[in-house]
């Protein structure tokens, strides 16, 4: 027993000590930001350790309306809803055909898709800007600072990984159900939507989470493509971009409490999604990396 105590005690203290330290390092800045949204300017500027004098939500209101966070939020929701749906639909369609149908050129198209995952987005940035600007001359709905333009760009850049991952996943699904459906007179298209997609759900969820976080995390693409081109142009900044602009404008000269509140608002939805689906998020993201 003595030997046992000797071994368990220090080892666990050692482990827990470091783990707790890192946990504090992760949580402290986040809590500090949330706390900051309740402070007034003097409290924020004075000392990092001051405590909010009163608990009100005034700063949240200022961030939402005056800071424009509400509008940026809406922009982000619109773009992500469109891009995620299209990414999953087009990605699954392409991956399905490539994984389960033999036809001349199959491998070529597959490698064509996979190759794109290797290149850094900076390589495409300059021509992409002009490509989207040219699309805008066809229809303003597609050009710079348009929802649809950004949606299509997000989809295009999400396709390599989506096709790659779903290709591998769809290959593993059993063929029997599909064949039975075909014998019953099901068309290829119907078999895809009503038989294969429901069966592929776990894979779709993993890729979906990966794409959702990837597109939510996107910064360089909206910064390049979503700039108002004139003074009257609508501000269609994404949340991330809008928050950064708010920080640049307000910094510690303007309304720091509203900035902290803006950060809190921007963090909240992902935290809720993450904490509710943390297992799937961890699995989805790590599966995405391991390939």
């Amino acid at each position: 027993m003595a030997a046992r105590r000797e071994r368990t005690g220090p080892l666990n203290v050692f482990s827990h000590g470091f783990l707790l330290l890192w946990a504090v390092l992760i949580v402290l800045p986040l809590l500090w930001v949330v706390l900051g949204s309740f402070k007034n300017d003097a409290e924020i500027d004075g000392s990092a350790w001051s405590w909010p004098s009163h608990w009100g939500f005034a700063a949240f209101g200022r961030a939402w309306s005056k800071g424009g966070i509400g509008g940026f939020f809406l922009n982000t929701v619109i773009v992500l809803a469109g891009s995620l749906t299209l990414t999953m639909l087009l990605g699954a369609m392409a991956a399905y055909v490539l994984a389960r149908y033999e036809f001349p050129g199959n491998r070529v198209v597959y490698y064509f898709f996979v190759a794109g995952a290797m290149f850094p987005v900076y390589l495409a940035l300059v021509p992409l800007f002009f490509m989207v600007r040219r699309l805008g001359t066809i229809s303003p709905l597609l050009g710079l600072n348009s929802y649809l333009g950004l949606i299509l760009v997000y989809v295009a850049y999400s396709l390599p990984f989506t096709v790659f991952f779903l290709h591998a996943f769809l290959r593993t699904l059993p063929t029997a159900v599909h064949e039975a459906a075909m014998l019953d007179g099901c068309s290829h298209t119907r078999a895809f939507f009503q038989v294969m997609l429901p069966m592929a759900r776990p894979g779709l969820v993993s890729v979906g989470i990966f794409n959702l976080l990837g597109q939510w995390n996107q910064y360089i693409l909206p910064v390049t493509l979503m700039q108002p081109t004139s003074g009257t142009d609508a501000n269609r900044s994404m949340l991330a971009q809008g928050l950064v602009n708010l920080a640049l404008q307000q910094g510690y000269a303007g309304d720091p409490a509203a900035l902290f509140a803006g950060m809190t608002i921007a963090m909240l939805p992902v935290l809720v999604v993450y904490l509710s689906f943390q297992r799937q998020v961890q699995v989805g993201l790590t599966a995405g990396t391991l390939k």
Partner: protein
């Protein structure tokens, strides 16, 4: 079953392929072409200048400095992140060994994982704004607040983290490590859990200590995963645009003070959207491309080991 097969195949492929070709592949290819011109991005006029842009890059001190900073991040970020993540993953999965020859994780391992992974889901722009506030150059910043509280700095001279030429790059690096460690910890944890328990347990019975267990068993068996992590971290080190452009001082896309935190991507964006040197910016894009390519190949070669079956 074969009826209407080709219309179906083509129908399903045409939209994704066209979209992908137009918005991804074609711009990639165009960059190589534009990098050989003096295009300013605004006019239709451009002249073929051969490798002029590349020769200019080779003599551009700001660019060379930026490349150096990318290299520094490349050298330090993977080492720091992998070491920390391995250390924590080992603690979580093997750290809580009991007195009997049983190997297990510490209590609450799941909770730690949830917490450590958290920064990964915050968008990088949120991280930037958050850390800008933490690094604030007066007593209102979290770091300076702590240092003042501990009496380690005088109130009159707080550390100007992001405006200090010698500190700025390390501040950025700190954010990257802070945000990335949790992700790689989860990655390594998953790999460690697939190592059979009895391998550890027999090592324990043979009297192996914790460091020995780690270096003789865990690390070799995890080598594949570490290698993957290495490549991904190297790519991440090339992609710190969001943090540098928002957190550091300097006109148009940061990089200051005095270019001390300049990276290739910020310099590329400034040349493209601020100076209107589209061709020059494209040449930088090509350099980033070759850099990443060489890097991936080297990383995969250097870290290649014989795979251990278990």
């Amino acid at each position: 079953m074969r009826h209407r097969r080709y219309p179906f195949i083509i129908g399903f492929l045409v939209v994704p392929v066209l979209l992908y070709a137009a918005l991804v592949i074609w711009p990639y290819l165009q960059t190589f072409g534009y990098s050989l011109t003096d295009w300013n991005g605004q006019s239709q006029q451009m002249h073929f200048v051969g490798l002029d842009n590349y020769t200019k890059l080779a003599h551009d001190e700001v660019f060379l400095g930026a490349l150096g900073h990318n290299l520094l991040l490349l050298a330090v970020l993977p080492v720091a992140t992998v070491l920390l993540a391995l250390f924590f993953a080992f603690m979580l999965n093997v750290g809580g060994r009991g007195g009997t020859a049983r190997v297990q994780g510490v209590r609450g391992a799941g909770g730690y994982k949830v917490l450590f992974f958290l920064p990964q889901v915050l968008s990088v722009a949120i991280l930037a704004v958050l850390w800008e506030a933490v690094y604030r150059p007066d007593g209102g910043g979290l770091f300076n607040g702590v240092l003042l509280k501990l009496g380690l700095e005088s109130p009159g001279h707080p550390v100007e983290w992001l405006a200090d030429p010698d500190l700025v790059l390390w501040c950025i690096l700190g954010v990257l490590v802070w945000a990335g460690t949790g992700f790689y910890l989860v990655l390594f944890s998953a790999a460690m859990q697939s190592v059979p328990r009895d391998v550890y347990e027999s090592a324990l019975l043979d009297g192996a200590g914790r460091p020995q267990t780690f270096f003789r068993i865990t690390l070799p068996l995890l080598w594949d995963t570490v290698q993957t992590a290495w490549v991904y971290l190297a790519i991440a080190a090339m992609d710190v645009f969001a943090l540098v452009s928002t957190m550091t001082v300097g006109a148009s896309y940061g990089g200051g003070p005095d270019h001390r935190s300049e990276i290739v991507a910020t310099y590329l964006m400034r040349n493209f959207l601020f100076f209107g040197k589209a061709g020059y910016a494209c040449a930088m894009g090509v350099v980033i491309f070759f850099f990443t390519l060489v890097l991936s190949v080297v990383a995969l070669r250097v870290t290649r080991r014989e795979r251990i079956e278990y």
